[in-house]
Amino acid sequence: MERLEVKKLNHHFGFTEILRGINFTLDKGEVLSIVGPSGGGKTTLLHLCAGLLDVQEGSVTNTFKSSAFAFQEARLLPWKNVIDNISMSLLANGEKKSEALKKSQEIALRFGLEEDYFEKFPKDLSGGMKQRVSFARALVLKPSLLFLDEPFSALDIGLKKELQTVLIEMISKKELSILFITHDLMEAIRLSDEMLLLKADPGHIVKKFRFDLIQNQRDDKYVYGKSAEILQDEEIISTFELELK
Protein backbone atom coordinates (compact mmCIF):
# COMPACT_ATOMS: atom_id res chain seq x y z
CA MET A 1 0.00 0.00 0.00
CA GLU A 2 1.38 3.41 -1.00
CA ARG A 3 1.28 5.96 1.80
CA LEU A 4 2.99 8.93 3.36
CA GLU A 5 3.50 8.67 7.09
CA VAL A 6 4.76 11.51 9.25
CA LYS A 7 5.64 10.72 12.86
CA LYS A 8 6.67 13.00 15.71
CA LEU A 9 8.16 15.52 13.32
CA ASN A 10 9.96 18.50 14.87
CA HIS A 11 11.86 21.18 12.99
CA HIS A 12 14.08 24.13 13.88
CA PHE A 13 15.58 26.91 11.82
CA GLY A 14 18.51 27.99 13.96
CA PHE A 15 17.08 28.42 17.44
CA THR A 16 13.53 29.05 16.25
CA GLU A 17 11.19 26.13 16.66
CA ILE A 18 9.06 25.95 13.52
CA LEU A 19 7.24 22.62 13.83
CA ARG A 20 6.47 20.52 16.89
CA GLY A 21 5.15 16.97 17.11
CA ILE A 22 3.49 16.63 13.71
CA ASN A 23 1.76 13.28 13.08
CA PHE A 24 -0.41 12.28 10.15
CA THR A 25 -0.86 9.66 7.47
CA LEU A 26 -1.86 10.13 3.86
CA ASP A 27 -3.22 7.02 2.13
CA LYS A 28 -3.38 6.34 -1.57
CA GLY A 29 -6.22 8.13 -3.37
CA GLU A 30 -6.77 10.57 -0.52
CA VAL A 31 -6.50 14.35 -0.44
CA LEU A 32 -5.07 15.69 2.79
CA SER A 33 -4.97 19.41 3.32
CA ILE A 34 -3.09 21.35 5.92
CA VAL A 35 -4.62 24.70 6.73
CA GLY A 36 -3.05 27.42 8.81
CA PRO A 37 -2.04 31.06 8.89
CA SER A 38 0.90 32.42 6.86
CA GLY A 39 4.26 31.92 8.52
CA GLY A 40 2.90 28.93 10.41
CA GLY A 41 5.41 26.50 8.94
CA LYS A 42 3.24 24.96 6.20
CA THR A 43 5.81 25.30 3.45
CA THR A 44 8.48 23.92 5.75
CA LEU A 45 6.31 20.90 6.51
CA LEU A 46 5.65 20.27 2.83
CA HIS A 47 9.33 20.55 1.96
CA LEU A 48 10.14 18.04 4.69
CA CYS A 49 7.55 15.63 3.31
CA ALA A 50 8.83 16.06 -0.25
CA GLY A 51 12.45 15.57 0.74
CA LEU A 52 13.47 19.11 -0.18
CA LEU A 53 14.58 19.69 3.41
CA ASP A 54 16.39 17.21 5.64
CA VAL A 55 14.38 15.81 8.53
CA GLN A 56 15.93 16.77 11.88
CA GLU A 57 13.76 14.93 14.37
CA GLY A 58 11.02 12.38 13.87
CA SER A 59 10.36 10.54 10.63
CA VAL A 60 8.82 10.94 7.20
CA THR A 61 8.13 7.69 5.36
CA ASN A 62 7.05 8.01 1.77
CA THR A 63 6.22 4.79 -0.10
CA PHE A 64 4.42 6.45 -3.02
CA LYS A 65 5.87 5.26 -6.30
CA SER A 66 6.22 8.74 -7.75
CA SER A 67 5.60 12.31 -6.70
CA ALA A 68 5.55 15.80 -8.17
CA PHE A 69 5.50 19.32 -6.81
CA ALA A 70 3.58 22.45 -7.79
CA PHE A 71 4.83 25.56 -6.05
CA GLN A 72 3.15 28.74 -4.95
CA GLU A 73 4.90 30.54 -7.81
CA ALA A 74 5.03 28.80 -11.17
CA ARG A 75 8.84 28.49 -11.17
CA LEU A 76 9.19 28.03 -14.92
CA LEU A 77 12.52 28.15 -16.68
CA PRO A 78 12.44 31.60 -18.36
CA TRP A 79 14.56 30.40 -21.31
CA LYS A 80 12.25 27.49 -22.21
CA ASN A 81 8.97 27.75 -24.04
CA VAL A 82 5.72 26.31 -22.71
CA ILE A 83 6.08 22.82 -24.14
CA ASP A 84 9.75 22.55 -23.20
CA ASN A 85 8.96 23.64 -19.67
CA ILE A 86 6.29 20.98 -19.33
CA SER A 87 8.48 18.27 -20.82
CA MET A 88 11.33 19.02 -18.37
CA SER A 89 9.77 16.82 -15.71
CA LEU A 90 9.37 13.91 -18.14
CA LEU A 91 12.91 14.28 -19.45
CA ALA A 92 14.23 14.33 -15.90
CA ASN A 93 12.47 10.99 -15.45
CA GLY A 94 14.28 9.48 -18.39
CA GLU A 95 11.49 9.75 -20.96
CA LYS A 96 12.46 9.90 -24.64
CA LYS A 97 12.43 13.42 -26.11
CA SER A 98 9.83 12.75 -28.82
CA GLU A 99 7.54 10.96 -26.39
CA ALA A 100 7.95 13.70 -23.80
CA LEU A 101 7.00 16.40 -26.32
CA LYS A 102 3.93 14.49 -27.42
CA LYS A 103 2.68 13.98 -23.89
CA SER A 104 3.41 17.60 -23.01
CA GLN A 105 1.36 18.85 -25.93
CA GLU A 106 -1.55 16.65 -24.96
CA ILE A 107 -1.61 17.80 -21.38
CA ALA A 108 -1.10 21.44 -22.38
CA LEU A 109 -4.30 21.29 -24.42
CA ARG A 110 -6.09 19.70 -21.52
CA PHE A 111 -5.05 22.60 -19.29
CA GLY A 112 -6.39 25.14 -21.75
CA LEU A 113 -3.04 26.06 -23.32
CA GLU A 114 -3.90 26.28 -27.02
CA GLU A 115 -1.38 25.60 -29.75
CA ASP A 116 -0.44 29.24 -30.25
CA TYR A 117 0.88 29.18 -26.68
CA PHE A 118 3.20 26.21 -27.22
CA GLU A 119 6.20 28.24 -28.37
CA LYS A 120 5.76 31.18 -26.03
CA PHE A 121 8.27 32.03 -23.35
CA PRO A 122 7.13 32.54 -19.73
CA LYS A 123 7.68 36.32 -20.03
CA ASP A 124 4.77 36.44 -22.51
CA LEU A 125 2.35 34.52 -20.27
CA SER A 126 -0.04 35.87 -17.67
CA GLY A 127 0.23 34.65 -14.08
CA GLY A 128 -2.65 32.25 -14.62
CA MET A 129 -1.14 30.79 -17.77
CA LYS A 130 2.15 30.23 -16.00
CA GLN A 131 0.42 28.41 -13.19
CA ARG A 132 -1.31 26.15 -15.73
CA VAL A 133 2.08 25.29 -17.18
CA SER A 134 3.39 24.54 -13.71
CA PHE A 135 0.42 22.22 -13.05
CA ALA A 136 0.86 20.55 -16.40
CA ARG A 137 4.55 20.00 -15.70
CA ALA A 138 3.69 18.25 -12.43
CA LEU A 139 0.71 16.24 -13.65
CA VAL A 140 2.18 15.10 -16.96
CA LEU A 141 4.25 12.71 -14.84
CA LYS A 142 1.04 11.02 -13.70
CA PRO A 143 2.44 11.08 -10.17
CA SER A 144 0.74 8.99 -7.55
CA LEU A 145 1.41 11.74 -5.00
CA LEU A 146 1.14 15.45 -5.70
CA PHE A 147 2.50 18.13 -3.36
CA LEU A 148 0.70 21.45 -3.67
CA ASP A 149 1.94 24.59 -1.95
CA GLU A 150 -0.83 27.20 -2.16
CA PRO A 151 -0.82 26.97 -5.95
CA PHE A 152 -4.09 28.87 -6.32
CA SER A 153 -3.34 31.79 -4.05
CA ALA A 154 -2.17 34.13 -6.84
CA LEU A 155 -5.00 33.30 -9.25
CA ASP A 156 -8.29 35.02 -9.89
CA ILE A 157 -11.50 33.22 -9.02
CA GLY A 158 -12.36 31.94 -12.50
CA LEU A 159 -8.97 30.42 -13.09
CA LYS A 160 -8.87 28.98 -9.60
CA LYS A 161 -12.13 27.13 -10.29
CA GLU A 162 -10.92 25.92 -13.66
CA LEU A 163 -7.74 24.36 -12.30
CA GLN A 164 -9.55 22.95 -9.31
CA THR A 165 -12.05 21.30 -11.62
CA VAL A 166 -9.28 19.48 -13.46
CA LEU A 167 -7.87 18.30 -10.15
CA ILE A 168 -11.26 17.24 -8.80
CA GLU A 169 -11.80 15.17 -11.90
CA MET A 170 -8.58 13.29 -11.23
CA ILE A 171 -9.25 13.03 -7.50
CA SER A 172 -12.71 11.60 -7.99
CA LYS A 173 -11.27 8.85 -10.15
CA LYS A 174 -8.87 8.11 -7.27
CA GLU A 175 -5.97 8.50 -9.69
CA LEU A 176 -4.13 10.89 -7.49
CA SER A 177 -3.21 11.45 -3.87
CA ILE A 178 -2.57 15.02 -2.80
CA LEU A 179 -0.88 16.72 0.10
CA PHE A 180 -2.29 20.20 -0.13
CA ILE A 181 -1.14 23.26 1.79
CA THR A 182 -3.29 26.37 1.96
CA HIS A 183 -4.37 29.27 4.12
CA ASP A 184 -7.75 29.32 2.36
CA LEU A 185 -10.31 27.34 4.31
CA MET A 186 -12.85 27.10 1.47
CA GLU A 187 -10.26 25.75 -0.93
CA ALA A 188 -9.42 23.02 1.56
CA ILE A 189 -13.08 22.17 2.09
CA ARG A 190 -13.68 21.94 -1.65
CA LEU A 191 -10.77 19.60 -2.36
CA SER A 192 -9.87 17.50 0.63
CA ASP A 193 -10.96 14.28 2.28
CA GLU A 194 -9.24 15.25 5.47
CA MET A 195 -8.17 18.66 6.72
CA LEU A 196 -5.61 19.32 9.44
CA LEU A 197 -5.47 22.61 11.26
CA LEU A 198 -1.92 23.84 11.82
CA LYS A 199 -1.54 26.45 14.53
CA ALA A 200 1.54 28.67 14.55
CA ASP A 201 4.43 29.33 16.99
CA PRO A 202 5.53 26.60 16.84
CA GLY A 203 3.50 24.87 14.15
CA HIS A 204 1.47 22.04 15.63
CA ILE A 205 -1.73 20.29 14.62
CA VAL A 206 -4.71 21.20 16.77
CA LYS A 207 -7.64 19.64 14.99
CA LYS A 208 -8.74 17.28 12.20
CA PHE A 209 -11.85 17.48 10.05
CA ARG A 210 -13.16 14.87 7.60
CA PHE A 211 -15.35 15.53 4.57
CA ASP A 212 -17.03 12.40 3.28
CA LEU A 213 -18.98 13.66 0.28
CA ILE A 214 -17.10 12.84 -2.92
CA GLN A 215 -15.35 15.91 -4.37
CA ASN A 216 -17.18 16.14 -7.70
CA GLN A 217 -20.49 16.38 -5.85
CA ARG A 218 -19.47 19.29 -3.60
CA ASP A 219 -21.21 22.39 -4.84
CA ASP A 220 -20.88 25.97 -3.61
CA LYS A 221 -23.69 25.43 -1.14
CA TYR A 222 -21.87 22.52 0.45
CA VAL A 223 -18.62 24.48 0.67
CA TYR A 224 -20.25 27.59 2.13
CA GLY A 225 -22.28 25.53 4.56
CA LYS A 226 -19.25 23.62 5.81
CA SER A 227 -17.20 26.81 6.05
CA ALA A 228 -19.84 28.52 8.13
CA GLU A 229 -20.05 25.49 10.38
CA ILE A 230 -16.29 25.21 10.81
CA LEU A 231 -15.82 28.94 11.36
CA GLN A 232 -17.84 28.54 14.58
CA ASP A 233 -15.09 26.28 15.90
CA GLU A 234 -13.08 27.76 18.79
CA GLU A 235 -9.80 26.33 17.53
CA ILE A 236 -10.29 27.77 14.06
CA ILE A 237 -11.02 31.18 15.50
CA SER A 238 -7.96 31.17 17.70
CA THR A 239 -5.71 29.75 14.95
CA PHE A 240 -6.61 32.41 12.42
CA GLU A 241 -6.93 35.21 14.93
CA LEU A 242 -3.32 36.13 14.14
CA GLU A 243 -4.35 37.02 10.61
CA LEU A 244 -7.39 39.04 11.60
CA LYS A 245 -5.42 41.34 13.87
Binding site: L52, A68, F71, R75, L77, P78, A92, N93, F121, K123
Partner: protein, 260 residues
Protein backbone atom coordinates in the same frame (compact mmCIF):
# COMPACT_ATOMS: atom_id res chain seq x y z
CA UNK B 1 23.16 23.33 -34.56
CA UNK B 2 19.47 24.20 -34.62
CA UNK B 3 20.52 27.45 -33.05
CA UNK B 4 23.09 28.25 -35.72
CA UNK B 5 20.47 27.65 -38.41
CA UNK B 6 17.99 29.93 -36.70
CA UNK B 7 20.60 32.68 -36.44
CA UNK B 8 21.32 32.37 -40.17
CA UNK B 9 17.63 32.34 -41.01
CA UNK B 10 16.93 35.52 -39.07
CA UNK B 11 20.04 37.21 -40.41
CA UNK B 12 18.50 38.97 -43.47
CA UNK B 13 15.73 40.54 -41.41
CA UNK B 14 18.31 41.61 -38.87
CA UNK B 15 20.35 43.30 -41.60
CA UNK B 16 17.24 44.97 -42.95
CA UNK B 17 16.60 46.44 -39.51
CA UNK B 18 20.08 47.99 -39.75
CA UNK B 19 19.07 50.62 -42.33
CA UNK B 20 18.86 53.29 -39.68
CA UNK B 21 22.43 52.56 -38.64
CA UNK B 22 23.63 52.75 -42.23
CA UNK B 23 21.86 56.08 -42.70
CA UNK B 24 23.49 57.54 -39.62
CA UNK B 25 26.94 56.37 -40.78
CA UNK B 26 26.36 58.05 -44.15
CA UNK B 27 25.30 61.22 -42.40
CA UNK B 28 28.46 61.08 -40.32
CA UNK B 29 30.57 60.74 -43.49
CA UNK B 30 28.77 63.73 -44.98
CA UNK B 31 29.61 65.84 -41.92
CA UNK B 32 33.18 64.61 -42.17
CA UNK B 33 33.31 65.91 -45.74
CA UNK B 34 32.00 69.28 -44.60
CA UNK B 35 34.76 69.34 -41.97
CA UNK B 36 37.30 68.69 -44.73
CA UNK B 37 36.03 71.60 -46.77
CA UNK B 38 36.21 73.91 -43.77
CA UNK B 39 39.56 72.89 -42.25
CA UNK B 40 41.53 71.66 -45.25
CA UNK B 41 43.33 68.46 -46.19
CA UNK B 42 46.09 68.55 -43.61
CA UNK B 43 43.83 68.68 -40.58
CA UNK B 44 41.03 66.51 -41.90
CA UNK B 45 41.46 64.71 -45.23
CA UNK B 46 38.25 64.10 -47.15
CA UNK B 47 36.47 60.76 -46.77
CA UNK B 48 37.23 59.97 -50.39
CA UNK B 49 40.96 60.49 -49.96
CA UNK B 50 40.92 58.48 -46.75
CA UNK B 51 39.16 55.55 -48.36
CA UNK B 52 41.55 55.67 -51.32
CA UNK B 53 44.49 55.49 -48.92
CA UNK B 54 42.71 52.69 -47.11
CA UNK B 55 42.34 50.62 -50.26
CA UNK B 56 46.01 51.14 -51.10
CA UNK B 57 47.01 50.13 -47.58
CA UNK B 58 44.91 46.99 -47.67
CA UNK B 59 46.77 45.91 -50.80
CA UNK B 60 50.12 46.40 -49.09
CA UNK B 61 51.58 43.23 -47.56
CA UNK B 62 53.47 45.19 -44.94
CA UNK B 63 50.24 46.73 -43.66
CA UNK B 64 48.53 43.35 -43.60
CA UNK B 65 51.42 42.02 -41.54
CA UNK B 66 50.94 44.86 -39.03
CA UNK B 67 47.25 44.06 -38.80
CA UNK B 68 48.04 40.41 -38.22
CA UNK B 69 50.48 41.28 -35.45
CA UNK B 70 47.82 43.35 -33.72
CA UNK B 71 45.19 40.67 -34.20
CA UNK B 72 47.54 38.11 -32.70
CA UNK B 73 48.19 40.24 -29.60
CA UNK B 74 44.53 41.15 -29.13
CA UNK B 75 43.33 37.58 -29.49
CA UNK B 76 46.02 36.19 -27.19
CA UNK B 77 45.16 38.71 -24.49
CA UNK B 78 41.43 38.46 -24.98
CA UNK B 79 41.48 34.66 -25.23
CA UNK B 80 43.38 34.44 -22.00
CA UNK B 81 40.96 36.82 -20.24
CA UNK B 82 38.00 34.96 -21.69
CA UNK B 83 39.04 31.57 -20.40
CA UNK B 84 40.54 32.62 -17.11
CA UNK B 85 37.99 35.35 -16.37
CA UNK B 86 35.01 33.09 -17.04
CA UNK B 87 36.45 30.16 -15.11
CA UNK B 88 37.57 32.15 -12.08
CA UNK B 89 34.41 34.27 -12.08
CA UNK B 90 32.18 31.20 -12.05
CA UNK B 91 34.25 29.62 -9.33
CA UNK B 92 34.27 32.74 -7.18
CA UNK B 93 30.53 33.09 -7.67
CA UNK B 94 29.90 29.75 -6.02
CA UNK B 95 31.65 30.79 -2.81
CA UNK B 96 30.43 33.80 -0.85
CA UNK B 97 33.85 34.39 0.71
CA UNK B 98 35.65 34.23 -2.60
CA UNK B 99 33.31 36.75 -4.18
CA UNK B 100 33.71 39.10 -1.24
CA UNK B 101 37.48 38.81 -1.33
CA UNK B 102 37.66 39.37 -5.07
CA UNK B 103 35.76 42.65 -4.94
CA UNK B 104 38.61 44.96 -3.88
CA UNK B 105 40.94 43.30 -6.39
CA UNK B 106 38.44 43.91 -9.15
CA UNK B 107 38.08 47.53 -8.02
CA UNK B 108 41.84 47.99 -8.26
CA UNK B 109 42.01 46.37 -11.69
CA UNK B 110 39.11 48.40 -13.03
CA UNK B 111 40.05 51.64 -11.31
CA UNK B 112 43.68 51.74 -12.35
CA UNK B 113 44.08 53.67 -15.64
CA UNK B 114 45.33 51.43 -18.48
CA UNK B 115 48.13 53.90 -19.19
CA UNK B 116 49.57 53.17 -15.75
CA UNK B 117 49.49 49.45 -16.50
CA UNK B 118 51.29 50.07 -19.78
CA UNK B 119 54.08 51.93 -17.99
CA UNK B 120 54.45 49.16 -15.43
CA UNK B 121 54.36 46.48 -18.11
CA UNK B 122 57.06 48.31 -20.08
CA UNK B 123 59.27 48.24 -17.00
CA UNK B 124 58.54 44.57 -16.32
CA UNK B 125 58.47 43.11 -19.82
CA UNK B 126 60.29 45.66 -22.00
CA UNK B 127 59.05 46.68 -25.45
CA UNK B 128 57.26 43.82 -27.16
CA UNK B 129 54.42 41.36 -27.35
CA UNK B 130 54.33 40.59 -23.64
CA UNK B 131 53.72 44.20 -22.63
CA UNK B 132 50.81 44.55 -25.02
CA UNK B 133 49.27 41.20 -24.19
CA UNK B 134 49.64 41.85 -20.48
CA UNK B 135 47.89 45.20 -20.73
CA UNK B 136 45.07 43.71 -22.76
CA UNK B 137 44.59 41.00 -20.15
CA UNK B 138 44.61 43.43 -17.25
CA UNK B 139 42.01 45.60 -18.97
CA UNK B 140 39.58 42.94 -20.20
CA UNK B 141 39.92 40.29 -17.49
CA UNK B 142 37.98 42.13 -14.75
CA UNK B 143 35.04 42.84 -17.06
CA UNK B 144 34.65 39.15 -17.88
CA UNK B 145 35.37 38.07 -14.34
CA UNK B 146 32.64 40.32 -12.94
CA UNK B 147 30.13 39.13 -15.57
CA UNK B 148 30.75 35.49 -14.71
CA UNK B 149 30.70 36.24 -10.99
CA UNK B 150 27.35 37.98 -11.20
CA UNK B 151 25.99 35.18 -13.34
CA UNK B 152 26.61 32.63 -10.63
CA UNK B 153 25.77 34.94 -7.73
CA UNK B 154 22.31 35.60 -9.14
CA UNK B 155 21.30 31.99 -9.77
CA UNK B 156 17.70 31.56 -8.69
CA UNK B 157 17.32 29.44 -5.56
CA UNK B 158 13.67 28.77 -6.36
CA UNK B 159 14.56 27.26 -9.71
CA UNK B 160 17.22 25.12 -8.05
CA UNK B 161 14.58 23.83 -5.66
CA UNK B 162 12.23 23.14 -8.56
CA UNK B 163 14.96 21.16 -10.31
CA UNK B 164 15.54 19.23 -7.12
CA UNK B 165 11.85 18.46 -6.65
CA UNK B 166 11.70 16.91 -10.12
CA UNK B 167 14.97 15.03 -9.61
CA UNK B 168 16.74 16.69 -12.52
CA UNK B 169 19.89 14.70 -13.28
CA UNK B 170 23.15 16.68 -13.09
CA UNK B 171 23.43 17.34 -16.81
CA UNK B 172 19.91 18.82 -16.93
CA UNK B 173 20.64 20.92 -13.86
CA UNK B 174 23.69 22.30 -15.57
CA UNK B 175 22.51 22.75 -19.16
CA UNK B 176 18.86 23.63 -18.58
CA UNK B 177 18.89 25.47 -15.26
CA UNK B 178 22.31 27.03 -14.55
CA UNK B 179 23.93 27.50 -17.93
CA UNK B 180 21.32 29.68 -19.72
CA UNK B 181 21.21 32.04 -16.77
CA UNK B 182 24.98 32.30 -16.38
CA UNK B 183 25.45 32.65 -20.13
CA UNK B 184 23.07 35.60 -20.25
CA UNK B 185 25.50 37.41 -17.97
CA UNK B 186 28.79 36.08 -19.34
CA UNK B 187 28.10 36.67 -23.00
CA UNK B 188 27.53 40.46 -22.79
CA UNK B 189 30.66 40.59 -20.61
CA UNK B 190 32.60 38.85 -23.38
CA UNK B 191 31.34 41.44 -25.84
CA UNK B 192 32.42 44.40 -23.69
CA UNK B 193 35.69 42.64 -22.90
CA UNK B 194 36.39 42.26 -26.59
CA UNK B 195 35.70 45.93 -27.26
CA UNK B 196 38.02 46.87 -24.43
CA UNK B 197 40.75 44.51 -25.68
CA UNK B 198 40.63 46.05 -29.13
CA UNK B 199 40.99 49.60 -27.83
CA UNK B 200 43.74 48.78 -25.38
CA UNK B 201 45.80 46.78 -27.85
CA UNK B 202 46.14 49.84 -30.10
CA UNK B 203 47.00 52.10 -27.22
CA UNK B 204 49.63 49.73 -25.84
CA UNK B 205 51.18 49.25 -29.26
CA UNK B 206 51.32 52.96 -29.85
CA UNK B 207 53.34 53.46 -26.70
CA UNK B 208 55.29 50.27 -26.29
CA UNK B 209 56.09 48.57 -29.58
CA UNK B 210 57.55 49.17 -32.99
CA UNK B 211 55.09 47.08 -34.94
CA UNK B 212 51.33 46.51 -35.12
CA UNK B 213 48.60 48.97 -36.11
CA UNK B 214 49.15 51.04 -33.00
CA UNK B 215 52.80 51.56 -33.90
CA UNK B 216 51.81 52.46 -37.47
CA UNK B 217 49.52 55.07 -36.02
CA UNK B 218 52.43 56.52 -34.04
CA UNK B 219 54.54 56.64 -37.21
CA UNK B 220 51.73 58.32 -39.16
CA UNK B 221 51.46 60.91 -36.42
CA UNK B 222 55.18 61.71 -36.39
CA UNK B 223 55.15 62.14 -40.16
CA UNK B 224 51.94 64.20 -40.04
CA UNK B 225 50.46 61.68 -42.48
CA UNK B 226 46.83 62.38 -41.63
CA UNK B 227 45.24 60.23 -44.40
CA UNK B 228 47.11 57.15 -43.14
CA UNK B 229 46.24 57.93 -39.53
CA UNK B 230 42.57 58.28 -40.44
CA UNK B 231 42.68 55.08 -42.50
CA UNK B 232 44.02 53.22 -39.51
CA UNK B 233 41.24 54.65 -37.38
CA UNK B 234 38.75 53.50 -40.01
CA UNK B 235 40.25 50.00 -39.96
CA UNK B 236 39.95 49.88 -36.17
CA UNK B 237 36.39 51.08 -36.07
CA UNK B 238 35.23 49.03 -39.04
CA UNK B 239 36.65 45.81 -37.63
CA UNK B 240 35.07 46.46 -34.25
CA UNK B 241 31.71 47.23 -35.84
CA UNK B 242 31.96 44.14 -38.02
CA UNK B 243 32.57 41.87 -35.04
CA UNK B 244 29.96 43.54 -32.89
CA UNK B 245 27.08 44.01 -35.32
CA UNK B 246 27.58 41.24 -37.83
CA UNK B 247 28.79 38.45 -35.56
CA UNK B 248 27.94 39.07 -31.92
CA UNK B 249 24.66 40.97 -32.03
CA UNK B 250 22.72 38.32 -34.02
CA UNK B 251 23.94 35.63 -31.62
CA UNK B 252 22.98 37.76 -28.66
CA UNK B 253 19.49 38.31 -30.05
CA UNK B 254 18.87 34.61 -30.48
CA UNK B 255 20.31 33.73 -27.09
CA UNK B 256 18.28 36.34 -25.27
CA UNK B 257 14.91 35.88 -26.97
CA UNK B 258 13.44 34.77 -23.66
CA UNK B 259 14.38 38.01 -21.90
CA UNK B 260 12.02 40.92 -21.40
Amino acid sequence: MKFALKILKDFPSYLWSGWGAVASILLFIALWDVGNQVYGDLVLPSPLETFKTLVLMLHDDAVIAEIETTLYRASMGFGFSLILGSALGLLAGFFATASMMSRPIVTILVGMPPIAWIVLAMIWFGMGDETVIFTVIVASFPIIFVGALQGTRTLDGELKEMAESFNFPWHMRFFDVYFPHIFSYVFPAWVSGLGMAWKIVIMAELLATSNGIGASLAVARSQLDTPTALSIVVIMIASLMFIEYIILEPIKREVELWRD
